[in-house]
C-alpha cells in the first residue's frame, strides 16, 4: 500500500526489513535533493545571488519545518548535525562534560549513548548509572527514581525507542521525574519520528536528538533540539565559517543560536531533502501510519511466536519498529545469511547495544525492522523463508 511511494521497491524484489538501520526514501525526498543539485546548487548563508538566496531560504525553511513538526517554540532551538551520534556527542561534550557528576542511562541504550560517557572517564557507578529493566525490557521507573535520589547532580540521557527491541520508553514520565529532582534530560530519538509524533513542548524535554536517514530522509543529517532555556549553557562544539560575527587574531565573537553551532558548509542537499521527508509524513498522516504499523507489528509478532524454538525478548505491547528474536540452538548470523540468499533483508548482530546483549547472555539477535512500506505479504514471505532457513540449519 505504501510501497508505491518508494522507488527502491520498483528496483528491488527483496523484502526490506532493516528500516531501523536506515529507512527507504520517498520519491519527493530524492527529488528535492536532485532539484538542489541540478537547479540551484550554491552555498547557503554566505553569498547573496538568486540561487544562493534560494538555497538559504530552502535550508532555513527546513529548520521551520522541523520546528513545527516537533512543536518547538523557536527555530533557534533547532540545530542541524550530521547524525544522532553527532547530536549526542555534541551535547555530551558541550554541555554535560565537567558539569554533571552523574549520567543516568537506560539498559537499552545504543553505543552512541554509552561510549561518549566512557570517553569522559565515566564507568558504571563511577559517573555513570544504568536503570534496570525487567524480563520484558521494561524500564524500571522506581529504580530510576532511586538513582535520581542518590545522585544529586545528574544528567539523564535515555533512548526514546530501543533500536534492538523496539521498546518504547515512558519518556514523559521519565522527564517529569528527572525534572522533579532537578536533572536535565536528553532523549535519543533516533527510532521515534519514523513511527510516531513527538511534541517537545508537551514532553518538556531539554535535548532531543533526531535522525533524518531513519525518518525517510537523506543520509548525513541529524538534528539536536535544544530547549531555549538551555541554549546559553551549551558551548559551541565545532567552530569556523559562518558561526562568527567578528574575528580578529585575538578573539572571536560568535553569532547567536542556531548559527554558532553550525560551523562550515552544511549538508545542504541533505537538509533540504529532510524537509520533504517530514512533509511526506504529514501527507501520510501519523494517525494512519501508527494504526497501520501497529497492525503489521502485531501480525509479525504472532507469526514469529508460532515458530518452534523461538526466543522473543519483549511482549508486543509498547513496542514499535524493531523486533528481535533468536531461534533456540541456532546462530542469528547464520539465519541472516540464509535469509539474505532468499532475498529477505534483516539485520543480525548486537545492534550496537552490546551491554544489553551481555545481560541477556547472548551474542546478538536477528532483528526485523518494520516500516510503513512493509505489508502482510512481506511478513508471510519472511516467515516462510525463516522456516526454510531453520530447516537448513537444524541438524
Amino acid at each position: 500500500m505504501y510501497k508505491k511511494y518508494f522507488e527502491y521497491f520498483k528496483n528491488n524484489k527483496n523484502i526490506y526489513l532493516d528500516s531501523a538501520s536506515t529507512s527507504q526514501k520517498p520519491y519527493e525526498v530524492i527529488e528535492s535533493v536532485n532539484e538542489y543539485y541540478k537547479k540551484y546548487c550554491s552555498n547557503t548563508h554566505r553569498s547573496n545571488f538568486g540561487n544562493a538566496n534560494r538555497a538559504t531560504t530552502e535550508f532555513e525553511d527546513t529548520r521551520k519545518t522541523v520546528k513545527e513538526f516537533i512543536n518547538a517554540r523557536d527555530t533557534k532551538e533547532i540545530i542541524f548535525t550530521k547524525s544522532v551520534s553527532e547530536s549526542l556527542n555534541f551535547i555530551a561534550s558541550s554541555f554535560v562534560k565537567d558539569r554533571f557528576d552523574t549520567v543516568i542511562i537506560s539498559s537499552l541504550e545504543h553505543h552512541s549513548n554509552i561510549v561518549p560517557w566512557h570517553m569522559q572517564g565515566r564507568s558504571l557507578h563511577n559517573g555513570l548509572e544504568v536503570v534496570d529493566c525487567d524480563e520484558q525490557q521494561t524500564f524500571d521507573i522506581e529504580h530510576f527514581e532511586r538513582l535520581l535520589q542518590e545522585n544529586k547532580n545528574a544528567f539523564v540521557s535515555i533512548t526514546h525507542v530501543s533500536n534492538a527491541f523496539g521498546k518504547i520508553h515512558p519518556i514523559k514520565n521519565i522527564i517529569q521525574l528527572a525534572h522533579k529532582y532537578g536533572a536535565f534530560v536528553m532523549i535519543d530519538g533516533a527510532q521515534s519520528l519514523a513511527h510516531f509524533p513527538v511534541d517537545v513542548q508537551d514532553l518538556d524535554v531539554d535535548f532531543y536528538a533526531i535522525s533524518a536517514h531513519k525518518t525517510y530522509g537523506p543520509t548525513g543529517v541529524g538534528v539536536i533540539y535544544i530547549k531555549k532555556e538551555r541554549l546559553d549553557d551549551v558551548k559551541p562544539y565545532q567552530v569556523g565559517g559562518a558561526t562568527i560575527k567578528d574575528v580578529t587574531y585575538d578573539r572571536s565573537i560568535l553569532l547567536d543560536s542556531p548559527f554558532k553551532y553550525e560551523a562550515g558548509t552544511q549538508n545542504i542537499a541533505g537538509v533540504i531533502g529532510f524537509a520533504s521527508a517530514l512533509k511526506f509524513i504529514n501527507k501520510m498522516k501519523y494517525e494512519n501510519l501508527m494504526t497501520y504499523e501497529t497492525n503489521i507489528y502485531e501480525y509479525l509478532y504472532e507469526k514469529l511466536n508460532e515458530i518452534n524454538g523461538i526466543i522473543l525478548y519483549t511482549d508486543s505491547i509498547n513496542c514499535i519498529g524493531s523486533l528481535s528474536f533468536n531461534i533456540q540452538g541456532l546462530s542469528a548470523d547464520d539465519i541472516g545469511i540464509l535469509l539474505d540468499k532468499m532475498d529477505i533483508s534483516i539485520r543480525c548482530g548486537h545492534h550496537c547495544a552490546q551491554p544489553i546483549m551481555k545481560k541477556l547472555g547472548i551474542n546478538g539477535t536477528a532483528r526485523v525492522g518494520v516500516s510503513m512500506y512493509n505489508n502482510e505479504e512481506d511478513i508471510d514471505k519472511f516467515i516462510k523463508s525463516l522456516n526454510r532457513a531453520i530447516v537448513i540449519l537444524e541438524d
Binding site: N48, N53, E60
Partner: protein, 138 residues
C-alpha cells in the same frame, strides 16, 4: 487592510512601473543617495546594526505617541532599502507596528530583505523596529 500594508502596496506599485530588475535597483540607488545622512554624532554603536559587511544605523524617536525612524548605511543599496523600510514604519503607533504581520514585507520582493542569511543587516533592522515597538506601551 492596515495602514502599513497600504504603504507597502503603494511602494510595490511604484516599483511595478519598471520592466526589469536593474532599473528597479537603479531607483533604489537613487533613493539611497537622496536619503538625508545621519549626523556623524548619531552613527554610534548604540544605533549600529551589524550586517556581514554592510552596516545599518537605526534611530527610533517617539513624538506625540507615534514612532519615527531615521536610518543610514555605509552602502548605497542597503541605504535605499533601509530608507524604504523607514518610510513604511514611521509615523505609526507602536501598537500598529506590533500588530503588523511582518511576512507581508515579502510582497515587496526584495531578496535582500527576504533571504534569511546569517548576518543580514536589513533583517536585523526589521527585528530592531519590532523591538522598538514592543518596548512601547501605547
Amino acid at each position: 487592510m492596515g495602514e502599513i500594508e497600504k504603504r507597502i502596496d503603494a511602494i510595490k506599485e511604484d516599483f511595478e512601473l519598471f520592466d526589469d530588475e536593474i532599473e528597479k535597483y537603479e531607483y533604489i540607488v537613487d533613493i539611497g543617495r537622496s536619503l538625508e545622512p545621519l549626523d556623524e554624532s548619531e552613527k554610534i554603536d548604540k544605533y549600529l546594526i551589524e550586517g556581514c559587511t554592510s552596516n545599518v544605523w537605526l534611530i527610533c524617536e517617539k513624538r506625540d505617541g507615534k514612532l519615527y525612524f531615521k536610518t543610514d548605511s555605509n552602502t548605497v543599496i542597503v541605504r535605499g532599502l533601509a530608507a524604504i523600510l523607514v518610510k513604511i514604519f514611521s509615523n505609526l503607533s507602536a501598537k500598529e507596528i506590533r500588530d503588523f504581520d511582518f511576512s507581508l514585507l515579502d510582497k515587496l520582493g526584495f531578496s535582500e530583505i527576504i533571504t534569511p542569511t546569517r548576518q543580514n543587516g536589513l533583517k536585523s533592522m526589521i527585528t530592531k523596529i519590532v523591538e522598538s515597538a514592543q518596548g512601547e506601551n501605547a
